[in-house]
């Protein structure tokens, strides 16, 4: 049995690092980047934040939302800097080390039993994962 090295430690949330503001402020300083005046442009609305949250299946409290929008807006403003780079005709890199696909021979092998498959399931029934009702079709 794996154990905790310490006793009775409960989960303690740390304050989220403010990624966006950090980067913006960082680049407001004359560090490595150009010193530029970032325009005050609204790139993302509250409505869009909600749409994105819905896509990502995340929810936020009302008081978190404005801060999140500002964060996203700031970073989107910041990454506008990439527009000054001429990438005309430059190939997009999906893989940092160029390589092509190796292929696997078509040999079937069972590595997990169905018990192992279900071993971490939060809810199961009849050898299957159980979820709230999906579609009435």
């Amino acid at each position: 049995m794996w154990t905790r090295p310490w006793k009775r430690r409960t989960w303690r949330p740390t304050r989220a690092c403010d990624l966006v503001l950090a980067i913006v402020r960082f680049y407001e300083k004359p560090c490595i980047a150009d010193l530029r005046d970032l325009p005050e442009v609204v790139l993302i609305t509250n409505e869009e934040v909600l749409k994105i949250a819905q896509l990502a299946h995340l929810s936020f409290e009302a008081d978190e939302l404005e801060g999140l929008r500002n964060d996203l807006n700031s970073i989107l403003e910041y990454v506008e800097a990439l527009n000054e780079v001429d990438t005309e005709g430059v190939e997009a890199t999906s893989h940092p080390v160029s390589t092509t696909m190796r292929l696997r021979e078509d040999v079937a092998e069972s590595r997990l039993t169905s018990n192992e498959v279900l071993s971490n399931a939060p809810a199961k029934a009849e050898g299957q994962f159980q979820v709230p009702k999906v579609v009435a079709s």
Binding site: T3, P5, C31, D71
Partner: protein, 481 residues
């Protein structure tokens, strides 16, 4: 620490001289129990570990081969799967009171370590899903830096770095997406290697950003890093991005000296505008360069003109990939499941309760970056800039063998110091990020310092870890070859 500090080499020699692996294993288990740094999240069953160690002792007594890491206690960053053990990725979504995810399989690196006879002690703390630079962003609490317990150990592999520095293990595994091995190594005075992308299998590493992630060793010496890479490297049948390139014995690269080695120093790292670079770090780099030069290395300036776009490029690509990689944490097959009567509610509540704020923010950004209408402007653009950043390095490596600079602009900062002023926190990543974008091998090795640890970073072309080790071993020995 009560017990003796070991390197892998010293420990293997001690075993030859009669020291028992079981005794060593027991000492390390005790040390972890006494740990005050919060380096570990979970430890293995001590009876099983001791039984394994005794097995190695018996095999050794019979004169059998016990593996190149036979009886060496190793810690694993808790985003790498070990069969039968919990893996949390530093997140509540995989590990909390109502459910603890137990991996039914071994990561390839773990399989290799086991085959080499290593003793796996347990899993080390990290920033949630490896997203962070201070290890304060873990669901299991912050980690303290053994060099100064008031300070952070760096992140995201802060637990592994602290475990090595505090002698709670002999070596550890970390993962590096934007500097997560090298930055904590720099902060704790240890050695951290990010191998070339594709050198080490990612199978079993919980993905943050698939095209940037790479597993690597965190050790006390450059030689240990080479010994570890000897075990970890090689193509993997479960990872199509692992590369079929020949491995070598990297200990052979050590002690070669730097006579004639061309070392490039990017002018962008030291230009007049770099106010973020602290004087002590600058001084350490300069001293290192002087020593290397006195050993016969040729130091020359190189240019990496797209460096200033690395952070923007990194955050667009890394968050986009992360938003997709973290979609599997949905409360259906494993991990935290919230109370819900309806499916959409189940997803949203499970994820919102399970993920910490920084992870959620990055998922949101990544989802936006990939969403309809924005893909070309953000994701594709960033991929193209990534190409240009890679070309910068290719051009530089036409003139020099390796590139040298600081790993971080500053020494380790105080716990809590930058959680409210994250600006400085993100500054820490600036020298390490480009290496991941270009897929290069990079090491952080302790540089000269009169105070807190300072890391010197060496980068080399793809699959030239030999050059990285060659230069690092000279720096480690204080310039004596």
């Amino acid at each position: 620490m009560s017990q003796e500090t070991h390197t892998i080499r010293q420990l293997l020699d001690a075993y030859k001289a009669g020291t028992k692996s079981a005794d060593i294993a027991a000492q390390y288990l005790d040390a972890i129990k006494e740990d005050t740094h919060g380096a570990f999240i979970s430890v293995v069953d001590s009876d099983e570990l001791l039984a394994q160690a005794r097995g190695i002792d018996e095999a050794r007594a019979r004169g059998e081969d016990t593996g190149v890491l036979g009886g060496v206690p190793i810690a694993i960053k808790d985003n790498i799967c070990v069969k039968g053990g919990p893996v949390s990725a530093g997140s509540k979504i995989l590990d909390q009171a109502d459910g603890r995810f137990i991996s039914p399989y071994d990561a390839t690196v773990v399989t290799k370590l086991k085959a080499a006879g290593a003793l796996i002690l347990g899993k080390t703390n990290l920033d949630e899903f490896a997203m962070g630079s201070s290890n304060e962003n873990s669901a299991f609490g912050a980690v303290k830096n053994p060099a100064d317990p008031e300070r952070v150990p760096g992140g995201s592999s802060g637990g592994s770095a602290a475990a090595v520095a505090a002698n709670l293990c002999v070596a550890a595994l970390g993962s590096d997406t934007g500097g997560s091995i090298r930055q904590p190594a720099a902060f704790t005075g240890t050695v951290g290697l990010k191998p070339t992308y594709g050198r080490v299998s990612r199978f079993g590493l919980i993905a943050f950003a698939s095209s940037l992630d790479q597993i690597g060793p965190m050790t006390r010496t450059v030689e240990d890093a080479a010994l570890m890479l000897n075990v970890l490297a090689g193509p993997c049948p479960h990872d199509m991005t692992s590369m079929d390139v020949p491995s070598e014995d990297w200990t052979q690269s050590l002690g070669r000296g730097v006579e004639g080695l061309k070392i490039g120093v990017p002018k962008e790292y030291f230009g007049p505008g770099v106010e973020g670079l602290s004087p002590e770090v600058r001084a350490s780099v300069q001293e290192t360069l002087q020593r290397l030069e006195s050993q016969g290395a040729q130091i020359q300036e190189v240019s990496l003109p797209h460096t200033k776009y690395a952070v923007a490029t990194y955050y667009l690509l890394a968050t986009a990939e992360a938003s997709s990689n973290l979609a599997r944490f949905d409360g259906v097959r494993y991990g935290h499941r919230a109370e819900a009567r309806e499916l959409q509610e189940l997803y949203t509540k499970s994820r919102s309760e399970g993920f910490g704020p920084e992870v959620k923010r990055r998922i949101m950004l990544g989802t936006y970056v990939l969403s309809a209408g924005f893909y070309d402007a953000y994701y594709k653009k960033a991929q193209s800039v990534r190409t240009l950043i890679t070309r910068d390095f290719e051009n530089a490596f036409k003139a020099v063998d390796v590139i040298l600079g600081p790993t971080t602009p500053n020494v380790a900062f105080r716990l809590g110091e930058k959680t409210n002023d994250p600006l400085q926190m993100y500054l820490e990543d600036i020298f390490t990020i480009s290496c991941n974008l270009a897929g290069l091998p990079g090491i952080s090795v302790p540089g000269p310092t009169s105070g807190l640890p300072i890391g010197i970073q060496i980068l080399a072309p793809h699959f030239r870890e030999d050059l990285v080790f060659q230069a690092a071993s000279v720096i480690e020995s204080g310039g004596r070859s």
